[in-house]
């Protein structure tokens, strides 16, 4: 036979697993550089995956002078994010993605009700170009990660692959100081131990929970950990600590540290 079917067409003719979305069009929120690097890493985007959840956050007040976790709020913030990411992941599964890159989590307050929060998770579903299934998460579903396309490429070249976007949340009530507590400390620099302890505790709990999630995902480590502090319309002394990162595992064919390329130093001489 002299005629050769182009590889791309041959793949389509095999019909086993298309590297394209069923509509034949891929969608993504990648920038050009991200797109090129994700493809360089051997993946193809297939579609934008979105999950959202409008959540009514219950009411809980901390005792005025007590440091305590507000479990109702912690659970709400966690559960709602989980619902949003699970729905996003279900969309990715439905389009046959091996994973989701560049997940962005946002929280919006709905104007008409202070207790209603909208949680949105958006990321780009990708498939491995050669149909390699070794990149999926431990449960066989798509991996999730909040890494950008650039980060994704770097991670694979450092010998790791993303498994799951992991997070931990802790909403904490920081005790008020007693009305007369200031009198004893007039004119002295003193540590406010109850404030320190509250921030410490809340942050530790958030990191612990994130680490626990990574452990449940059978990961080796968590990369890109970021800790956010925020308040979503709560009283002044209520603060959320939110730890988020991407759980990773070594690649099936591990890259030893000696094999990692040496970066070149450059000096940009633009102005």
């Amino acid at each position: 036979m002299s005629m050769q079917i182009p590889a791309h067409a041959a793949e389509r003719l095999k019909g086993l697993r298309s590297s394209m979305h069923s509509t034949g069009v891929f969608t993504s929120d990648f920038s050009v550089n991200e797109f090129l690097l994700v493809r360089k890493a051997g993946f193809e985007p297939i579609g934008l995956c979105v999950g959202s959840c409008v959540y009514h956050v219950g009411i809980q007040y901390g005792s005025w002078n007590k440091n305590q976790e507000l479990e109702v709020l912690s659970k709400a913030m966690y559960h709602a994010r989980e619902l949003a990411t699970t729905r996003m992941r279900a969309e990715a599964t439905a389009m046959g993605a091996d994973g989701i890159v560049g997940v962005k989590l946002t929280i919006k307050r709905l104007e008409w009700d202070e207790h209603l929060l909208e949680f949105i998770a958006i990321g780009t579903g990708v498939v491995h170009g050669d149909g390699h299934r070794g990149f999926r998460a431990h449960d066989g579903g798509p991996f999730t990660s909040d890494l950008s396309g650039q980060d994704f490429w770097s991670l694979l070249h450092s010998g790791y692959r993303p498994v799951e976007m992991v997070m931990g949340s802790c909403v904490y009530h920081v005790a008020h100081r007693g009305l007369f507590a200031g009198i004893g400390t007039v004119g002295r620099n003193v540590e406010l131990e109850n404030f320190t302890s509250a921030l410490y505790e809340a942050r530790e709990i958030a990191i612990e929970r994130m680490q626990f999630e990574a452990s449940a995902a059978k990961a080796e480590g968590v990369v890109g950990v970021d800790i956010h502090e925020g308040s979503h319309g709560w009283q002044t002394h209520v603060i959320e600590f939110f730890a988020i990162g991407t759980a990773v595992l070594p690649l099936d064919q591990e890259i030893t540290p000696e094999k990692i390329g040496e970066p070149i130093m450059v000096l940009s001489v633009n102005d």
Binding site: S154, E204, A214, V225, A243, I260, V269
Partner: protein, 306 residues
């Protein structure tokens, strides 16, 4: 939790959770007063150290890549906080607050069996209360392969990429040094304002600033000496106020400098070639754009000291 759950008897699980939370609180208080690390914190750090729990790192994948190729292994995200109430001096409190946070960060790093803490960011959470401030440090404890865990881990307030760059040039970032000074100027004859003069320097205010800045920098030097032989990357923060008391003007000048201390061997140049590139992209690109690594003094960045 429903609206009327408050009237129900707490379940055994709820009671157990409450007892555990109180236990955590008590351990944390003891730790802040100089006691041992709380058991939950110890479990997290030691689990990561032994590999029974996943490691956690604030490093980006690119930083993980460079860390691995240089024999650094991430262990755990470590953090420390000190919330300080300013009784007699806001300015001098900064040195006290960061020093305390630094000590606690090292304790966590020690428990994690680390040689160093990288990517340490100085943060401040504003939670109201004008006469108090929080000093928070967050970073990643790492082990250097082939080295025993350090009894006194170094604290590097630079990202992992820069840490490695410095190591290759035989420079070790070791910690944070703070210099702080303030002074009140009592203008008894109201001469500092010079409302009726033309173009002329105000020698009193110039002198005030000169003294305050010089002293803050002396303080920085003294604070840095036990930690290394130099400092890099100053953050300068200065403020001045005017107030009137008994019909006399008084001026406050305060100056705070925070810097990364380094231990550098003299005369060792960077071993790498540096390529000169022209970036064709217009506007900001990752090559030309930098983001401040610290957030604590960001609101006053435009004011430099010297």
């Amino acid at each position: 939790m429903g609206l009327f759950d408050i009237f129900k008897k707490p379940t055994p699980e709820a009671l157990a959770a409450r007892a555990a939370a109180e236990q955590r609180n008590a351990e944390m208080q003891a730790f802040l007063q100089g006691g041992a690390l709380p058991s939950a914190m110890r479990a997290r750090l030691e689990g990561a150290r032994a590999g029974t729990m996943p490691w956690t790192a604030t490093l980006t994948p690119a930083e993980l890549l460079i860390a691995r190729s240089h024999g650094l292994r991430p262990i755990a995200t470590v953090s420390a906080t000190c919330w300080l109430h300013y009784g007699w001096s806001w300015t001098l409190g900064h040195s006290e607050g960061w020093t305390m946070a630094l000590r606690r960060l090292k304790e966590e790093a020690y428990a994690a069996g680390a040689n160093a803490v990288l990517d340490v960011k100085m943060r401040t959470i504003r939670l109201g209360g004008a006469i108090s401030m929080d000093f928070t440090l967050i970073g990643t404890a790492v082990r250097v392969e082939g080295l025993e865990p350090s009894g006194d881990p170094i604290v590097a307030t630079v990202p992992a990429l820069e840490f490695v760059k410095l190591l290759e040039a035989d420079v070790v970032p070791t910690g944070i040094a703070i210099g702080a000074h303030y002074e009140w100027l009592d203008d008894w004859n109201n001469s500092a304002r010079m409302a009726w003069y033309g173009n002329i320097e105000s020698p009193q205010l110039s002198g005030l600033w000169e003294r305050v800045r010089t002293r803050a920098h002396q303080d920085l030097r003294a604070n840095a000496r036990p930690q290394g032989n130099g400092v890099l990357a100053h953050v300068n923060f200065s403020q001045s106020f005017e107030r009137e008391q008994n019909n006399r003007k008084q001026y406050l000048a305060r100056h705070i400098v925070a810097a990364t201390t380094v231990d550098a061997r003299r005369g060792v140049p960077l071993p790498h070639d540096v390529r000169i590139v022209v970036d064709l992209h217009a506007g900001g690109t990752p090559l030309t754009r930098t983001r401040p690594h610290h957030e604590s003094y960001r609101f006053n960045e435009s004011e430099g000291a010297i």
